[in-house]
């Protein structure tokens, strides 16, 4: 069953067209991550779903009900904000129960729900404190609790972890995942952190300029990006790109190299014409093993960045900057000769005109 469905959504700020005929449908219990560069309209979309912004055109359905004109509190959503947005003058308990009091729930029920949420999020000892006396992680937990007590079907998160330091972010990320497994609610989660997106999502929607570029599972997004933008956006360090000429016989010409694309899954058969040949830094094979691969070139390491768990090597191939990610134990120094191998099976090839995957 569909939990949230957005149909032909348009949103303008004056003359600025932020969301353009956006369609999206989210299954019940699904964890959907909205991922995109800053300013692409993620928060705007979330605010539209929450009812905090009036849409310019289109419809929003939540649980089969048309809520396009409904008040935020009547939509069956709970929202968690980046800046926590806790009411500073109320205690944690006051924060959690504010929405329930507004809904005129009986007191015992309020108590019970607050207690349950506090238990799930392990904030029981904090209930009588003011938000000012909490750490960042605790505040964000309370903010999640405020959505939790409302017993809603859909959770909306707007970059809930981006104000936290890296370690805490990793911890809370796991907690959110656990929470989702436990509650089974639909969750829509905005972030521009790829790791969060890849680890949390059932499906990821990559947004750009108010349009969804690709909506698919993390695996598909990573391995088969639908266009060059998605390919470039996902992955760190970013994918390497070569300009090339594809031929109908399933080969590609990159500078002086002719490569047989054996193993590459074309969308509909081999193509002819100018293309981008994309290859992820972590899929590069170094050393003697590279000789087995259809694409094997010699290069020299320019810069080496050891990062502990892995090593980044910068080099130049066919005049293009080329990034390689390899084992952290690899003993490579700047100036060392490299044998670089690429397997077309892991490549992504995009039409130069449309930038779509071929």
């Amino acid at each position: 069953m569909t939990s949230v469905s957005i149909q032909n959504l348009d949103l303008n700020f004056g003359s600025v067209n932020v969301l353009k005929q956006l369609n999206l449908s989210i299954e019940e219990g699904e964890f959907l991550v909205l991922l995109g560069a800053s300013g692409c309209g993620k928060s705007t979309l979330l605010n539209c779903i929450a009812g905090l912004l009036d849409v310019s055109d289109g419809q929003i359905f939540i649980n089969g009900k048309n809520v396009t004109w409904a008040e935020p509190s009547d939509r069956g959503i709970g929202m968690v904000f980046q800046s926590y947005a806790l009411y500073p003058q109320m205690t944690v308990k006051g924060n959690l129960s504010f929405g329930l009091k507004n809904a005129r729930l009986p007191k015992p029920e309020i108590e019970e729900r607050v207690a349950r949420a506090a238990e799930i999020l392990q904030i029981e000892p904090l209930l009588d404190r003011k938000p000012g006396a909490l750490s960042g992680g605790q505040r964000q937990r309370v903010a999640i609790g405020r959505a939790l007590v409302r017993d809603v079907d859909v959770f909306l998160f707007d970059e809930p972890l981006s104000n936290l330091d890296a370690k805490l972010r990793a911890e809370l990320r796991v907690e959110i995942k656990r929470l989702h497994q436990k509650l089974g609610n639909t969750m829509i989660y905005v972030t521009h952190d790829q790791v969060e997106a890849m680890t949390l999502a059932d499906r990821i929607a990559i947004m750009r300029d108010g349009l969804v570029q690709q909506l698919a599972g993390p695996d598909e997004i990573y391995n088969r990006p639908a266009n060059k933008y998605v390919a470039d956006f996902i992955g760190s360090p970013a994918m390497n790109f070569f300009e090339g000429q594809a031929k109908k016989d399933g080969t590609i010409n990159i500078g002086n190299l002719d490569v047989d694309l054996k193993g590459y899954e074309f969308a509909d058969g081999p193509v002819n014409g100018p293309v981008w040949f994309g290859y992820r830094p972590e899929h590069v094979v170094l050393g003697e093993a590279a000789r087995q691969l259809p694409l094997c070139v010699e290069a020299v390491a320019d810069i080496v960045e050891p990062m502990g768990s892995d090593t980044l090597i910068w080099t130049k191939i066919e005049g293009v900057d080329f990034r390689i990610r390899t084992d952290g134990q690899a003993k490579v120094a700047a100036g060392d000769p490299l044998l670089v191998g690429m397997d077309p099976r892991y490549a992504s090839i995009f039409d130069q005109q449309t930038e779509e995957r071929v």
């Binding site: 009812g51 905090l52 008040e71 509190s73 929202m79 947005a85 806790l86 009411y87 504010f98 405020r146």
Partner: protein, 305 residues
């Protein structure tokens, strides 16, 4: 190697370490403190003269040494200023004016702050079609010179049947306080994080719920600023008081003027000084009671406004 590090430690002890010493009589300090002293004297001396004079009897004042402390302290001038000084035929002192002022001040300040804060909140958070235009027009009101509208207001109050009565004056004060107070509140509310407002809406709070439960409790400093502005402004008002009320409703400032400027008999400087200080006491108390909050509120408004 080990030797080397010991050497470094030794030089560190002999070189500059800890806070840099600042000589007390540096040119900078002399400049700052002498300026402060002069400014301080500029304000404190007249106050000193007023206090000593108000505590002297008339014979002592006639000696003419205004800086000398009172030989014989007497509170008689204060009592006279409060309860017996004459304005024309009425000899009940400032007390009547004081209570008139209180009756004007409390409803004027309360109403203007209440209305302006709601205005500011609506303009900051519940933007409606034309809200910007509305705000611009309101702000424009702050620049209209009083003189231009004195007479039209006389007519309006007369038509409303409020001319010469306290409610009429209260109405005038509320209206005149509106532009600047609305601006103050709107700027403050816009500076509060927007996500709080959104969170409250998701939590099902409405216009009034958000105002009373979220916004007001977070805005104490700005309410204090507004209170001080209004209390001093309304208490010190002379023009509106003299124009829109009748003698029996005159606020304290008007009465003070009448006492000080009365031409009959000898000038009783001690009574005049006492009366002046009595008139200034309410704003003074407000300043002292809320000075810290006032500064905080002004700073908050200024930084994020």
């Amino acid at each position: 190697m080990a030797n080397n590090s010991i050497n470094i430690a030794a030089t560190a002890v002999s070189g500059p370490s800890g806070p840099k010493p600042r000589p007390l009589l540096s040119p900078r300090n002399i400049m700052i403190y002498s300026t402060l002293f002069i400014v301080c004297m500029y304000y404190a001396l007249p106050l000193y003269v007023m206090i000593v004079t108000s505590l002297k009897g008339m014979p002592e004042i006639r000696l003419g040494n205004i800086f000398a402390p009172p030989v014989e302290i007497t509170f008689q001038p204060w009592v006279k200023a409060w309860a017996e000084a004459c304005t024309g035929l009425d000899c009940s002192g400032l007390s009547k004016g004081f209570w008139n002022s209180v009756k004007i001040l409390i409803p004027s300040a309360a109403l203007s702050i209440l209305i302006a804060s709601i205005n500011g909140y609506a303009l900051a958070n519940w933007k409606f079609k034309g809200s910007e235009v509305f705000f611009t027009i309101l702000i424009f009101g702050a620049f209209v010179p009083y003189q231009v509208i004195i007479y039209p207001i006389v007519i309006i109050l007369r038509e409303l049947g409020l001319f010469g009565k306290l409610p009429g004056l209260v109405l005038v004060h509320v209206i005149f306080g509106m532009p600047i107070l609305t601006l103050l509140f709107r700027n403050y509310f816009t500076s509060l994080p927007e996500e709080l407002f959104k969170a409250a809406r998701v939590d099902g709070a409405g216009f009034w719920g958000i105002y009373f439960r979220i916004m007001v409790p977070m805005s104490l400093p700005i309410f204090v600023v507004a209170l001080i502005l209004q209390v001093t402004g309304i208490w010190n008002d002379f023009l509106f008081g003299v124009i829109y009320t009748k003698p029996e409703n005159y606020p304290m400032t008007v009465q003070l003027n009448n006492i000080v400027n009365s031409v009959q008999g000898v000038k009783e400087y001690n009574v005049n000084m006492a009366a002046t200080m009595l008139t200034g006491i309410v704003p003074l108390i407000i300043y002292f009671a809320s000075g810290k909050l006032f500064v905080r509120g002004i700073a908050a408004g200024a930084v994020k406004g």
